[in-house]
């Protein structure tokens, strides 16, 4: 875990050093284009995290091993946090580039908001179910359905805009080589950050479970409060 953490920090620092000093300044957008190296990796990792949560949930339903539920929960939880980052950076970029905080004719922005709103129901759903076993089962069903929903939603929203508006984010299609390099390093750094944070959260949860077990064994009356997280 220590190696992973160090690797994450090094990759991220390299990525943003590359983005600022090595990648050329965008001819049209100038300095504000630099947010591309933060926003796009955040979005990709968040979406990947949502889908990964669904895949882990399939594992949970197949094996009935609760550790998969914990992993699925953490994957979605962390993806939600990355999702907030994506929406905030996206809004800032939209404001800087197009003068509006929000644009309905940008399919990526809109689809991402829909996906985010759907996953925002994940924690309330878990919280509304008291029985831990059932909570895990229902959360997995949700994660699978929502994981399938992600690509379908993107396709539907993309089609809806196809004729009304040209692709605005075309700057990503004709990036020069150094910019691509910086982008891929940033993406790798973001994936590493996601994995590292997920592993920290899983470790923290496991430590808490172990603590609770030990205190029970010592005869203490430990009551686990209601929680959206796996118990």
């Amino acid at each position: 875990m220590r190696t992973l953490s160090i690797l994450t920090v090094v990759t991220l620092v390299t990525a943003y050093a590359l983005a600022f000093f090595y990648a050329p300044m965008d001819a049209v957008e100038g300095l504000r284009q630099k947010i591309f190296y933060l926003h796009v990796p955040l979005a990709l990792v968040a979406l990947g995290g949502f889908v990964a949560g669904g895949v882990l949930a399939i594992q949970h339903l197949r094996t009935r091993d609760r550790k998969w539920d914990l992993r699925s929960y953490v994957a979605i939880h962390m993806a939600l946090i990355f999702g907030i980052g994506t929406l905030v950076t996206g809004s800032i970029w939209a404001r800087a580039a197009w003068g509006h905080w929000w644009l309905w004719d940008e399919p990526l922005l809109v689809s991402f908001l829909i996906v985010f709103l759907l996953y925002a129901c994940y924690q309330p759903l878990r919280f509304a179910i008291e029985d831990p076993e059932r909570q895990a089962r229902y959360a997995s069903v949700f994660a699978i359905v929502a994981g399938v929903f992600v690509p379908i939603n993107f396709a539907a929203v993309r089609f809806a805009q196809e004729h009304t508006h040209p692709r605005t984010l075309s700057s990503s299609h004709n990036l020069p080589g150094p910019a691509w390099l910086a982008f891929f390093v940033a993406l790798a750094g973001m994936v590493l950050l996601y994995v590292t944070l997920c592993r920290y959260e899983i470790a923290a949860k496991n430590v808490r479970f172990a603590m609770r077990r030990l205190r029970r064994r010592l005869g203490e009356d430990v009551v686990a409060g209601r929680s959206a997280a796996p118990q």
């Binding site: 309330p124 509304a128 179910i129 089962r137 229902y138 929903f149 379908i152 539907a156 929203v157 089609f159």
Partner: protein, 223 residues
């Protein structure tokens, strides 16, 4: 097939005897049209506005119905009774979804004429066959996702909240497709042709979520 049809008969008979859900959904739809009339401050609507008003109303009415879909099963251990029978759980889901589809169709028998009468501008009557096709495809999607979400939310403590919270984002592709497909039908000065692309997307949505729902519904009913 026999358990499915038996369960479906049970659903329909229950609704026929209590007459609880469908009349409420129909009344809600008509009232919502009146609300739209005042909210939009328009006497008639057409084009994309008409499509939006119709589909938002139908979607919210469907959420109302989805809330009640599993209520009778939660009472008096009725669901346990069904689960004790040596029947595939998929049959229960199919029966629920088909019953919900029938409820939606019944509601639309009232709501769509009311929409034509109260709000729709002078558009041609030849929109009806196209509209029927869109209604069938969209209702199938709403019925599938509605039954799944209702089954998911029914065992939780905040049932009515979760059905809408989960159902609305999941059904957004249906609303996008249905609204896009019906917009040319309600165009001022004669109905345009039905956009095949949107029908294909609605059909694809129904297919994918139908398969997914059948695959995961079993897991909601284990005890």
């Amino acid at each position: 097939m026999r358990p499915t049809s038996a369960l479906l008969r049970k659903e329909l008979r229950l609704e026929w005897r209590s007459r609880e859900v469908v009349p409420a959904m129909a009344l809600f739809s008509v009232t919502t049209f009146v609300v739209f009339h005042f909210g939009l401050q328009k006497d008639t609507v057409d084009g994309s506005l008409a499509a939006g008003v119709l589909w938002v109303t139908l979607l919210f009415a469907a959420m109302l119905g989805a809330n009640r879909l599993f209520v009778s099963d939660a009472q008096d251990g009725a669901l346990e009774g069904v689960l004790l029978a040596p029947v595939d759980r998929t049959a229960l889901f199919v029966a629920k979804a088909v019953a919900f589809f029938a409820f939606l169709a019944l509601v639309e028998v009232v709501a769509v004429p009311a929409f034509y009468l109260l709000l729709l501008g002078p558009s041609a009557g030849d929109a009806v066959p196209g509209l029927l096709a869109v209604l069938v495809l969209a209702d199938a999607g709403i019925a599938i996702v509605g039954a799944l979400v209702s089954g998911m939310a029914t065992q939780t403590r905040s049932r009515d909240l979760l059905v809408s919270l989960l159902g609305l984002p999941l059904l957004l592709p249906v609303i996008i497709g249905a609204a896009r497909a019906t917009t040319p039908l309600f165009a001022l000065g004669g109905a345009g042709s039905l956009p095949g692309k949107w029908m294909a997307i609605l059909g694809l949505y129904d297919l994918v979520f139908g398969l997914i729902a059948v695959a995961v519904f079993d897991f909601l009913l284990e005890e």
